[in-house]
Symmetry: D4
Subunit: 240 residues, 8 copies
């Protein structure tokens, strides 16, 4: 077990948990579960829960979710009600330890080009919801059947920020960018084969979009898009 | 000067002109002017004119056009009327020695995403016209302002083949492919900067299009697209 | 279950089936099975069968084929004869729900460089046959033994469109393009090792072909080539 | 000269100016000058000025600026005061036709890693200012001398959006992302040699940033960053 | 079994062990275990132990460690005490046959950006310790929470050489390079996804570092960094 | 079963065996086993044996070797002695059906940089031996311990052709090229990690060798190197 | 001026001329002129002439040729007849100081795919001729018009070694490899645009050739191909 | 003009000169001249001279050197003797304002593979000398003529650090690493053509070196290598 003192982090030996992140950035530290050792992951969630009262974990396997749940059940944290706050979603691979009565504000629209992009889109949606944004989902609205997108475009235009998730040629953000007023956060996915290049073609297409108002995150980075969408949404709903 | 005999080509020492190509493929040999030596280019056009009665040359500089014109004027060919058949277009960089009374049939639509793609689009258009197709042009109809494309889509749908020329993210063929019945030949252009990668991003995006009915040619290869569009158009208008 | 109304698509919650595609493009929506969830794939085939009377599915695993067959058998569709229309081919990985008395017209030639390219070639052939084209197959006619290609070239020249499938250095379309009159659709395959780069070398070689009349689709995209070949063949056999 | 009617664009023959963009996206069309023909650029600025009362042009050469200025002076527009509204900045390569009494709101911070990144940073700054944002500049605050960044970090934290411009290893956005509350728009520049790869290394580094709250635009795309920064800033200062 | 004679190597048939390496370079030959055949690995360790009295092996699987241990136990070497000198560490994947009373001198600092980089960092640390350097470890001090690095920077500055291990955007060496006096050996790791490109982005970022005093080794090459760190440390502690 | 007639190939339905290859190139067709279907591979070896009296197969798995052996045992060929001619080597993954009393001529030297390169080196050696060359092996003579190479260089210089197999930085052919008189065929291997890039770095290093007399084959293509080495050796030993 | 002594090289301060290369490799050192300083190039040719009696220089500009010629004329070498031995060819960019009565033996065939490949082909031809081989040239025999190649294939088959020079898709060596008995040295050229990638596509296509007997040199490396062709030809004509 | 105060940098408006770098890292800030504006470069050298008493500038054009010299001559600094301290070397492109009586200690060896690598090698040498190291130069000792390297290897082994500069296949550091005791800093150069890829092949080859003790810097980064060589040399000569 580590100590914290006034250094602004909790030294766990194998990690230094950033306990002053919420103070600096407005959001607490999130756990990127991919590759975390089984021996460490339970304790990390427990310590962050004690510090922040809520925890978000991304890219968790079902096995990791089971380990975290058991750590909470076995009383590693002082608060017995924490188990009820635990949830795991296999599609988005997200673990949440979350308060039940959270109010959500503003609006973030999450669009996907195809059905195969849904896991990444759901990671973005769950992240934005965890951090307090209302989310509207518009899936399978890719550009090869434009009428599908057009039938929902007025709803999309209501959002403070639009997350556009697409693989293959990644054209959805370009079409959306020409139709909406607020920022489009483009998320390339690794969907596709051959010169889809594991998402690199969609990524480059999004970066060279002929439309204005498009910014991009890494391939399959639904979390990153949901995070920034929440930052933007928060600015829009803040009362001055 | 070379000899031909029954070998099916004219051996000019520095080149072997394929004189049986029209018999094999239905179209005579075309001159790719880029990099051809000044000392050779005039003679190549003259020999091909003598053989085929018409000549098409692509990627010609104004200087090369001047050399070819002078060769024709100086009587290197037996037919004094040939000079009137000569033309050079600086936008498409195409030289034509072409009969005046050519009938054009069917319909090929040439679309471009932006104005910077026009030189490549014009190369495609001029090629298709040279080989006997009627051509309709629809320029600057890129996906960031969809209403521009939608206002002409019904005209485009009338064509036997659609050539879609676009740079940057190259999304135009994907949108077109979902709206038309006949083949879309996608031509990526080298327009764009950064990760546009000189047209590679548009190329890959077109190859991974989520729409059906899209085939692709090399970057900036307007000639190749115009050629295949003519092959397709010719099949459509053939009487059985 | 979703509703359709006049939106032109069937909203299934996890997907929006494009029910007006045949009206727009002349071909109904096809199921790309790779990565589709087991929970969804049966229903997708049933709904598309109800709408279109036939369904084509590509890149299906044997397991997926089993699921679709069972869905049909268990009466998810109102038509008890549908099971007899079902077939699955393990080489091309194609599922068909197809009418038995379909007439096929025109001619598409499918050539492969080697035997390892046959699965992709068969995907192209099955697609073209499903959409109504007659198909002639010419396999293992690669350029390292030219006499094999030459012994069948006259038959190939009869086709309205030639699909040329090849991996490694992908030279087959270049040789074919110089010998035939109609369009050659080149399909690079992922066959080869080292700098074959999973098909990228063949793809680039085909895009830079010195022959005219060659267009290209994504690596291993037999379906896409078969689709466009059918579009071209359909134009050729149309009566005016 | 083109006509507009109710199509939502002005058809100039060589271009279709998107006259309904401000209605759709809140910002009028901007002129990307790179590669525009001398014969067209003057007229484009004049027509857009007539439509929108202001015009922004990016990536303009001094020669292009001269042509635009002359077009305005020669009375191609009905408003004689327009010449006084013209300005050209050689560092950012931006042409503005801008009203003098524009109010600017909120705050966007523009940071650069080195002095060589200033042209791109200035493009972002000028864009944000044109669209109505207050801008604070923090140049040469790269990570190899952290004390330079730390001496201004409190001012940076006041901004609604931070634009971080850097070449070479592109580490500035990662450090900033860990220190601020609002979104960081990372702009990779083509500064550097060898494996800087014309900005690709900085781009990829920014996309894989270990910090949250970082989104990315194309290499050297100061305009795109300034545009989105303004969208975010506008949401923050909007009164509800 | 091979013979050595005066050739400076031991010819084992399948390998030529470099027995004069310590004389040339000051360090004996080390065993890179990855891919070594089970039939050979035990004998290689035994022969090197006989020659050098100590052996270091890197990238060993637990199974290989077991084989080596058994070979030592079964008396393939004349010295029965050798088994007590054997150790295997599963995190760094390092096998050591090492004398117990080794004195360590000078100081090498090993820093890691995140917790996922620890295996590579430990490989560097174990290598430096084996070759006689004192090592201080500073893990999880990445740039997204600078206060963690700043709280230990004075300790790091005491080292004769700093090894900086980081994945993703690889910014740690740039920040360190600006803060310390002695050489920084940067080790990119394959941690990250998408355009992290298996460590290539971190590698290129480190090579284009804006800080001075940074040199780089191959992706995940903790051994190589530890080796050079020891060479530098040895120069620093040498008495003249 | 197919027929051959005078077409110069044996049409097996799934393949066209090139039966006139020996006449054209001096060597009979060889079987590249990787990816060959179990249902076909036995028959292919039997037919080629009947035609040529010997067969070489490369990249065969142990399972494929078993299938071929069984096909021979079960009498698919008329010659009962064929089973004794069968052999399989697990290191080089080569199947041979070979006459026992073959004379070998000339000399080919096969060198490898490390022990991990031996499988590729053995593929080259076995190929050259099958086609009638004497082979001398020099393994583990990489450039980091030059004395190992120098102790055998005089023997290497006796060969008519030198095959140099190396992974990682692939420097062996450069050093050899400067020391020998006859051609060096460089074979890059996929040995190495990180920026070894699966052999691409070694390949490019060999292609840009500062030494003369170096030619290159594809990554891990021991067969190709052995084939050309035999062609060269054959020219050297031919009596005029 | 440098000294040589028994070191086997001539130390010129700025360079160490390898004076024992002919003894080691059978060919004297050749001058790669690209990038050589004007101040050095004259002296280098003079010193090598003095040592070897002949000199070959590649990639020389006309200006460099002029400098070398003047150095010879101004008597920097003791032999006044040397000026008559000097020649420069602008197509191949080769400088020769060569004896007039050289006998040439054996036969090397140099083939090119197109006319744009001729400069590289001529570099190969001139190199082979300088080193003593007879050369036959077959230019513009690319695969898009196979009859051109077929009309000369019997002559090509007479050569001891075939050099195949081609750009774009680089298919010529594959077709040749299937038709000839002796080694094919493939030379990719930088001819082509877009995904020709400056010769990389041709290079990779040649390395992945489906034909046997093909080895490859770097892009545009006519010299390297001519060198190895001569090595092979020399082995073939050697009397035992 | 800027002010400095206690911020540790001099704010010049367009730049923040790092005035506490020497305190942090032991070396003062160096001027990377490439791309610096003419209007700024003179003042930067003057201010740094005033602060540090010496200045080093890299990658300076002759024109920039002229500007700096004139700025010094025109008295922008208070010290009239400064002009005598100025020097510019056109090969290494280095500007020095340097004290005349500087003592140099220890030893750094600078080796180059070819003569074309000398400008980069000289940049390394001049940097090391400026910072106080003795330097020994060994140029044109590439691996295609090993005897040249072997004749000087004993001198090289005396150095505390070896800088190995090479382009093309970059094999020199691998050979050196196997022969010396102290660290080898490998510098890839952009010398070579085709797949030399502007130095990327040499870079990757150096990073994957089979020899120990090799670290790498960016392509053509002689300065960076000279800097670290000095750091290492300084540690070696330090008295304890």
């Amino acid at each position: 077990m580590g100590t914290e003192g006034d250094k602004g982090y909790l030294d766990m030996g194998f990690a230094r948990l950033d306990t002053m992140r919420a103070a600096r950035t407005g959001f607490p530290e999130v756990v990127f579960c991919e590759g975390k050792a089984d021996a460490h992951i339970g304790e990390i969630f427990c310590r962050l829960y004690e510090k922040n009262g809520e925890v978000l974990g991304t890219r968790a396997t079902p096995g990791q979710a089971e380990i975290v749940k058991r750590a909470l059940e076995e009383g590693y944290v002082a608060d017995s009600g924490v188990v009820d706050m635990f949830s795991y979603d296999a599609v988005s691979r997200i673990i949440k330890i979350e308060k039940n009565d959270k109010e959500r504000k503003g609006l973030v629209a999450i669009c996907s080009g195809g059905t195969a992009d849904i896991p990444v889109a759901e990671e973005a949606a769950a992240t934005a919801e965890f951090f307090g944004a209302k989310v509207a989902r518009f899936y399978d609205v890719g550009v090869s059947g434009l009428h599908r997108l057009m039938s929902v475009i007025d709803e999309i235009r209501n959002a403070n920020c639009i997350v556009a998730v697409a693989g293959m040629e990644g054209a959805l953000p370009s079409v959306l960018g020409g139709l909406v007023e607020n920022p489009v956060i483009a998320v390339p996915t690794s969907i596709g084969y051959g010169v889809a290049e594991g998402g690199r073609t969609a990524l480059n297409a999004m970066l060279t979009s002929c439309a204005n108002g498009v910014v991009v995150v890494n391939i399959d980075n639904g979390y990153g898009a949901g995070y920034v969408a929440t930052q933007i949404n928060r600015l829009a709903v803040r009362v001055f």
